[in-house]
Amino acid sequence: MSLADLFTVVAVSAGAVFFLAGTVGLLRFPDALTRLHALTKADNLGLGLVVLGLLPRVDGVLGGLTLVAIWLLALLAGAAVSQLIARAARRGGPPA
């Protein structure tokens, strides 16, 4: 196993841990706002670490940039939608 492979395994595994933690938080936290907070761990750190771990495996700069762009788009969508859901929850939208 080369150093790049080791890096991939470690980073993707760490990302999976954050996804797991985010999911546990989503299921266990008491209200909408804290559950949203748990989700950001999966979106931001989990996906970020998975993308980081996959970077040594892509061929070409373009493939790597595509992966990073996907992560940035997920960050943008996650942050914006969390705000919208939080606002709806505070105004008493769908039941928590």
Partner: protein, 312 residues
């Protein structure tokens, strides 16, 4: 390892399908349906059907999901009353029996399929050079089975006419949907400024590569329509009154060009929608370029809904 993943996805999809059917709350059922569509996208990727996966994500999960969420939001006020009128036991029994019979018939039909399933893959692969197109899906959709695609383009137009027909008389020809009152400095307005430039590039790219790689006009048009709707929802743009002549022309331009090319085939080649020798690829390009704006406007207006405000 891959088998475990596939079995996991299959189980999740079945569970979500059951959840979507049994959920009492309309909104919860819709959320289940959207998640179901996204998982189905993964299945198509696993089956190497990237074209279908893109369509499922854009149209099945995205566009249909947005339509259903809009419907659920409108039904929210009357939902309690509707639920109080639970049908009696005999009605439910008949409905359950009918559903079981349909499911059983489908199961029998699927199990009775010959193995290997009949396929036209080899004929498609053997004849794809005559179209000059690299993506076999595009070759099927716009050359070998162009009639289906023509009818699809017209069906979405009819769907829009159906949506418009729900307009009250005073709003006929007016602007669709309610006026959006959104914080101009809020996060939605921010997203509607940042995302459309990216989304427009992605939508046109998916359309552009459709001739040779997975992608195409329907998926591209859905993304473009979503970007326009985002701007409308954020209050940065307003939907045009549906009575405008340029709008009506944009709606019918794509199907009209498609039919004109088909008629040309009837005169020059030997059948309706047949392409003259050597002209297949340029004519397919003409149809795709004509359909993209029409489909974009049609899909966007279907999502925007029936006219509710008078044209001022």
């Amino acid at each position: 390892m891959m088998a475990a993943l596939n079995v996991g996805i299959a189980l999740l999809i079945l569970a979500l399908a059951v959840w979507t059917v049994v959920a009492r709350d309309t909104f919860a059922a819709v959320v289940g349906f959207v998640a179901y569509g996204l998982l189905l996208t993964l299945v198509w990727v696993q089956l190497a059907g990237i074209d279908v996966a893109l369509t499922e994500a854009a149209l099945g999960g995205g566009l249909t999901g947005a339509l259903l969420i809009g419907a659920a939001a409108r039904l929210r006020r009357t939902e309690g009353a509707a639920r109080a009128e639970t049908p009696g036991f005999p009605t439910r029994l008949v409905a359950a029996l009918a559903a079981v019979v349909v499911t059983a018939a489908l199961a029998v039909a699927v199990l009775a399929l010959p193995d290997p399933a009949p396929t036209l893959t080899h004929e498609t692969a053997a004849n794809i050079e005559t179209t000059g197109v690299g993506n076999p899906i595009t070759a099927v959709l716009l050359a070998f089975r162009a009639m289906d695609t023509l009818l699809e383009a017209i069906v979405v137009l009819f769907a829009l006419v159906g949506v418009w027909s729900l307009a009250p008389d005073r709003a006929w020809g007016g602007r669709p949907g309610r006026l959006q009152r959104v914080d101009p400095n809020g996060i939605l307005a921010y997203l509607a400024r940042v995302l459309p430039p990216i989304g427009i590039v992605v939508g046109i790219y998916i359309f552009w590569i459709g001739a040779d790689l997975p992608g195409g006009k329907f998926q591209g048009a859905t993304i473009l329509a979503a970007m326009w709707l985002l701007a409308v929802m954020a209050g940065l743009a307003d939907a045009p009154p549906v009575g405008r002549t340029w709008l009506r022309l944009a709606l019918v331009a794509g199907p009209v060009v498609f039919i004109a090319v088909g008629a040309l085939g009837a005169v020059v080649a030997d059948a309706f929608l047949a392409y003259p020798d050597g002209l297949a690829k340029p004519l397919i390009k003409v149809i795709e370029w004509a359909l993209l704006p029409s489909l974009t406007v049609t899909l966007a207006l279907i999502l925007a809904g029936a006219p509710e405000r008078e044209a001022k």
